[in-house]
Symmetry: C2
Amino acid sequence: MRCRMDSAAASIEHQHVVFEDGLALECGVTLPHLVVAYRTYGRLNGQRSNAVLICHALTGDQYVAETHPVTGKPGWWDMVVGPDLPIDTDRYFVICANVLGGCMGSTGPRSPRNGIDGPPWGTDFPPITIRDMVHAQKLLIDHLGIERLFAVIGGSMGGMQALDWAAAYPDAVFAAVPIATAAYHSAQNIAFSEVGRQAIFADPDWQHGRYWETGKVPARGLAVARMAAHITYLSEHALTRKFGRRLRAKPSGGSGLSLFGDTFEVESYLQHQGSTFVRRFDANSYLTITRAMDFFDLAAEYGDLSQAFAGSHTRFCLVSFSSDWLFPTAESRAIAGALNRAAANVSFVEIPSDKGHDAFLLDEPDFHRTLAGFLAGCAERAGLQS
Amino acid sequence: MRCRMDSAAASIEHQHVVFEDGLALECGVTLPHLVVAYRTYGRLNGQRSNAVLICHALTGDQYVAETHPVTGKPGWWDMVVGPDLPIDTDRYFVICANVLGGCMGSTGPRSPRNGIDGPPWGTDFPPITIRDMVHAQKLLIDHLGIERLFAVIGGSMGGMQALDWAAAYPDAVFAAVPIATAAYHSAQNIAFSEVGRQAIFADPDWQHGRYWETGKVPARGLAVARMAAHITYLSEHALTRKFGRRLRAKPSGGSGLSLFGDTFEVESYLQHQGSTFVRRFDANSYLTITRAMDFFDLAAEYGDLSQAFAGSHTRFCLVSFSSDWLFPTAESRAIAGALNRAAANVSFVEIPSDKGHDAFLLDEPDFHRTLAGFLAGCAERAGLQS
């Protein structure tokens, strides 16, 4: 699976804003030049009070509710964001930015180091944190003239950002919806991240991150990383229901036993997940962003998780899914407990689902009703016109 | 991590027996020459009625209760097998064979194709099944002059073999102890297997399995496979207790953030697991044996799982561990249900443990007491002298 970087993907022009003053990162380095690529849906009202920031997950991007420019597929949350949908674009002004460190237009390892042209940062890109991502989004929100976000919403790593927004800018977040997430990355999650990184490092086409020099990208390593991660996004039940032990094709004649090839349907599915992923994602971005997730630990940063939300007036709605074993319900419950200790306004819903972590991206009517209902209640409190 | 195959490991002489008539495999191929490497502990009694066959797991081998000739470490079950231990070598004659397809002396992908010398089978080694492994062990048991095994015992893939022994040779198995296992490999387990195989395939040093030609082994790919698998052997709780989010070393100065290196202790641990594994294990064996596990599906073979044990007089003791998510308790319960439907003699114990799948290899006094007690009861029934 050696392949050249898709030049079409790398050369797409994304809507963006440039911050010439750059961004001071938590690691101590200052990025001299910051690009934030973003998309918006709906219209900002006259009071600038109806803005909803959506934070995407590890491998998501800003193309939330429209055809993706690289894959041609529908937006990753087009079931949730749109007219008359839970995040109603007739009512809210929806913003989603590609995260710092990403590969869909925002500054990241694929960006030119000097900010203009020249070779990419590659693995010289500084280590970043969830807080750094939030800081970059805050610059965008300021640029758009929005003082207070009506809501910050995100699943998985997007949920980490939603929590971090509420901790860093309590007065700028009226409501926060952290979904299928945790206040820190667990040892098991760090372990899965590390397997993915080691798979990328092991691919000789990675070339210590300088793969632009040959134009060969570490497609095999990145595909293995994606395959391993993808298992963790599904529940055992979902895998069994979708594939069970079904064989892909009975070989004509013979015993049906073979060492190679995608004998079982689940293998073929995983291989497909791996190979399509490498067409749209940058390996160095994957390394950088998984590291940012590993570093995330709000409780450690504030001494105690409740301290992260001390005095907060933000309205929180925590959502978990019963079969999510990557960010299990217990993690959301721990956040709810900390918010209660901080006397914050919090509701917490565990959605019964057998779809695993990925449930937040899928057709889960209970989840969608919860989200729509919570936002409608908050809109009333915030005095938003319906 | 490029390294040459450890010639010391490959050239070790293992105790073995040669079957010149070979072995007809389920795939239709006949291996013209079969070597079964094995170790024994204790003494066979005059009635030849005290033999216990131990079946090892995916990456185990026949060095159950003695120093391993490659790693120099204690035997993998030295807490369980020995004088006055649960499998008491003062009482039982313990046999363990390296599985067919393995790399510690039994015929496998590393063996010469012509049975004598010349190039190894490599990936031309035929696809094998758990039943093929059992057939090879049966030849060894016959060779040792044993008509009926007092017990067949194994964990994980060893448990699959124990189940398969009881199904294939009900009259030759007085008691069976399948531990932390299942009657089939689940979609999730196949998926994890496939990630490991793809990691090996992705390593250019694998060279389509012909790595003996250059002497370079696919160490990086095999290490990634082992790392991914190793996470599944532990519980989240065990990982958290052992490592949590502890940092390996605080870098002197700086923010402590870095993209590379084993920042967290759990990363360093996994990397160590990966790199030590490749010194003792053959990549093509890993491919062959994981495939054999994927093919395993006793119910499919017999139409219904209870049919696999119809009329059986074997005494079964099924053991699962509460925190094992690779072979969860539900899988053992399903086997117990099938054995009940077959009116077989079965006891089933779930051991409370937070150590995950690996618990069967670790210091779990409840498990050891269960095993010792079950064997003692069976010994009385079998009329074995204590």
